[in-house]
């Protein structure tokens, strides 16, 4: 499954819920969710602790808009909206962790 997370991990529990519940698959961070993928943040620690259970992606335009594209943590792949579409197509189902 492609898990789409759009909340900052320091504001809401969406990323935690996803990490704790979802079966191995992929996580795409969009909107405020992209803050989780920044170097040195609490979100990065959580994503690293998940230890390769999920392929990690973040929406580049959302990172750029927030001035954090150069802070992307190791192990996360930045995609554009076309890449977002490809990910949705690649996985059989998607779930937005609102």
């Amino acid at each position: 499954m492609l898990n789409i997370v759009n909340k900052s991990p320091l504001d809401r529990g969406s990323l935690d819920a996803c990490l704790q519940s979802a079966e191995p698959g992929a996580i795409l961070l969009i909107e405020d969710g992209v803050y989780a993928a920044t170097r040195g943040s609490a979100g990065e620690a959580k994503l690293k602790a998940a230890g390769g259970k999920f392929k990690l992606f973040a929406l580049g335009p959302d990172m750029e808009a927030r001035g954090i594209a150069d802070r992307a943590m190791d192990g996360v792949t930045l995609v554009d909206y076309a890449g977002f579409v490809d990910l949705v197509a690649e996985y059989d189902t998607c779930q937005s962790w609102l």
Binding site: I4, N6, I30, E31, F84, V85, V88, A89, S96
Partner: protein, 130 residues
Amino acid sequence: MKFSILINEGPYTHQASDSAYQFAKSVLAKGHEIFRIFFYHDGVNNATRLTTPPQDDRNIVNRWSKLAEENKLDLVVCVAAAQRRGIVDEGEAKRNGKDATNLAPGFRISGLGQLIEAGIQSDRLVTFGD
């Protein structure tokens, strides 16, 4: 591949309708089909033609209407959510005794069954919300 999109939040407060728009454009650019875009909860506010954003801001409503016209998209507004929030077409105005309509071009008002049908008929249903 056949996509449908669910939008749960109104324009200008939450990024959901912006993200959904960018996603929808890319779905079409990639040669996929969009079966339906369904507007639910405050998402129905994407469908009022009476908005006037400042000139240097994006016009979210017009953007949807244009995308729908150019690509023959089916933009469906949930009727119960629309009635609660004052999104009105001619049929609704007549039925409920309203003196005005505000549904933007390219949108239509219908029931929640349209969302379930979109889930059944599409290969993927992607939700944008809060």
